[in-house]
């Protein structure tokens, strides 16, 4: 039994179904990321857990207690918002102790908690400053400390790093993980940034159009996506439609190309399927000479990403992606015809097309 239990949660806004058939359990010290594109229902789900939106169906339990219709101020659920939501009239210390003050915690205990959380979130120098005197990263640390000050049963983070610059985002991401592991609290983290979700979470919930599309460990989701949506949304994958032409060896025809695959996932001869090939598995030139599959195409685009270079190719009417080590990619140019090698182990059939 999970610490947070969500059963068949549903939310509608007029005729639009924002969340449906949402089932999830989160363990007491687990960090789960809800990942999906804008409008997929991840923030709405989080708001229903916080009590800020009421569900139209389903049930939410925290530590065995049904809180589906409990008002937010009685749930003891800490929340960190994307826009910080710090009280502008209060200093950092006053913001942090707001929750305990409302709960009637005595002043000495409040002061002790402020000091402890300021230490935990690396804020001791800023306690007497007002929010407008802080940087974005500092504000989000204050928001985190303030949410933790009520000793919440659950911590909810709604795209907390979206408004920050990339270097601060990366540093704070690591901080959030460290703090969550230190306080050992059930945490749900909403993001549309796959890198953030994969780096932070114990489990990732991929959402599409209000539903859960897939749940898994970050490595599973990244390396072995089970749905076409996940494969398209996470990582850099080649996603090809094809028809099974043989089971021995497993072979799929994608356009004019025959692809040897690792397995057919139970698909029979003639079945229409999707084949996923990670872009980093595609090899160029001699490196891919021994691969089971060979594709010849023309390079249409090259983009430099530091250690890796992303190459797009057109071959047999299909668009192919390859992520190559930059020194390897440096040897080829846009417009050049190249040969790609794709090992059969990299080609996975993931379902019906």
């Amino acid at each position: 039994m999970g610490y947070i239990e969500i059963e068949r949660l549903e939310k509608r806004f007029g005729p639009v179904v924002a969340v449906r058939d949402f089932d999830l359990e989160v363990a007491r010290d687990e960090l789960v990321a809800l990942l999906g594109p804008s409008g997929c229902g991840k923030s709405t789900t989080l708001r229903m857990i916080a009590g800020l939106d009421l569900p139209d169906g389903g049930r939410i339990r925290l530590d065995g207690q049904d809180v589906t219709h409990t008002p937010p101020h009685r749930r003891r659920v800490g929340m960190v918002f994307q826009e910080y939501a710090l009280f502008p009239n209060m200093t950092v210390a006053e913001n942090i102790q707001f929750g305990p003050m409302i709960a009637g915690t005595p002043a000495p205990e409040r002061a002790r908690r402020v000091a402890e959380l300021a230490e935990l979130t690396a804020l001791p120098e800023t306690l007497h400053r007002y929010p407008h005197q802080l940087s974005g990263g500092q504000r989000q640390r204050v928001a985190l400390a303030r949410a933790l000050a009520i000793r919440p049963r659950v911590l909810l983070l709604d795209e907390p790093l979206s408004a920050l610059d990339a270097p601060i985002r990366q540093a704070l991401r690591a901080e959030i993980r460290r703090i969550q592991q230190q306080v050992r609290i059930a945490t749900i983290y909403v993001t549309h940034d796959q890198e953030e979700a994969l780096a932070l979470a114990d489990r990732v919930v991929v959402m599409e159009a209000g539903r859960i599309c897939e749940v898994g460990m970050p490595a599973e989701i990244y390396h072995r996506p089970r749905s076409a949506f996940t494969a398209a949304f996470i990582g850099s994958n080649n996603l090809l439609e094809g028809v099974v032409v043989s089971g021995q060896p497993p072979t799929v025809r994608c356009g004019g190309q025959l692809l040897r695959c690792v397995s057919l996932d139970g698909a029979a001869d003639g079945a229409r399927v999707m084949v996923v090939i990670p872009a980093e598995s595609v090899q160029l030139g001699a490196a891919g000479a021994g691969a089971a599959n060979r594709v010849t195409g023309v390079i249409t685009l090259k983009t430099f990403h530091g250690p890796l270079t992303r190459i797009e190719l057109a071959a047999d009417g299909q668009r192919w992606l390859a992520l190559l080590p930059s020194p390897v990619a440096a040897a080829c140019a846009v417009g050049e015809t190249v040969s790609l090698g794709i090992p059969a182990e990299a080609c996975r059939v993931i379902g019906r097309a």
Partner: protein, 274 residues
């Protein structure tokens, strides 16, 4: 480059024009109230405080000044309370009611106040005649016509602080709506309360049409008493105007100072709660 050099000159000219245009009536009224004789010269031929002495000696002066001050203060309290509660609710719980509320809040601006006064008199004459000719009806009428001043100032303020987000943050921290309002929203409404409060107070303090038609001489406010003096002594009337403006400006400054301190007073209180 030439445009850039001209910009400060143009800005200075605009500023000077604004100051002269806005203050000239007050300066002229003040000079006239202090003049001994001012007929065919650019400036008064001599100065005297005689009109102010005469004004103070008039028996209705202090009572009417007191009535106008109390009326403006009461109007401010009613309008501020109504707008704070209504707008907080609209921003937090019923944002869809925002656009219709904005339109409704403009109605007093669309109606001539004489029409408002006559409508109130006829309406209450049928419904509740006991309230006719009372300061209470005048107070409620002033409140109704002053709503737009406070409404728009507070609406912009609540939008600027993202009131709904602050409310939600307060709720997840365990605060009821009234606690969030008290500790997290009200202290941040200083700018809106200052702007709206100044306009409401000054408007109510100097209002004539409603006061004349609803209570008239039975509960004469400063403008009503002042109007009765126009044909008797124009200098005393000018002196009353200057005093009235001085009271309104002083009250407005007091409201601004109070509103700016609001932020600093509630925050430590939040910190002290045990």
């Amino acid at each position: 480059m030439r445009g850039l050099r001209l910009a400060p000159v143009l800005g200075g000219a605009l500023w000077a024009g604004f100051v002269v245009y806005s203050t000239l009536p007050l300066v002229a009224t003040t000079l006239f109230s202090l003049s001994r004789r001012w007929v065919d010269t650019a400036l008064p031929e001599g100065f005297s405080v005689e009109s102010y002495r005469a004004m103070v000696q008039e028996a209705p002066f202090l009572p009417s000044l007191g009535r106008s001050t109390a009326l403006a203060g009461g109007t401010l309290v009613i309008v501020a309370t109504l707008c704070i509660l209504l707008l907080t609710w609209v921003h937090i719980r019923a944002p869809r009611l925002g656009p219709p509320a904005e339109v409704i809040s403009l109605i007093p601006f669309a109606l001539p106040w004489v029409v408002v006064a006559l409508s109130l008199v006829r309406f209450y004459g049928v419904l509740y005649p006991r309230i006719l000719n009372t300061p209470l009806l005048l107070l409620l009428a002033h409140g109704a016509v002053s709503i737009p001043f406070m409404y728009w100032a507070l609406d912009n303020n609540l939008r600027a602080i993202n009131a709904r987000l602050l409310y939600e943050a307060g709720a997840t921290l365990g605060a009821r709506w009234d606690q969030t309002l008290r500790y997290a929203l009200l202290p941040n409404l200083g700018p809106g309360l200052a702007t709206g409060g100044m306009l409401v107070f000054a408007n109510s303090f100097g209002e004539y049409a409603l006061s004349r038609l609803i209570v008239g001489a039975g509960w004469a406010t400063l403008p009503v008493w002042q109007a009765s003096l126009i044909n008797r002594d124009a200098r005393v009337t000018s002196a009353i105007t200057v005093v009235g403006i001085a009271v309104a400006v002083t009250a407005s400054l007091a409201i601004t100072v109070w509103a700016s301190r609001l932020r600093g007073e509630v925050a430590p209180a939040a910190g002290r709660q045990g």
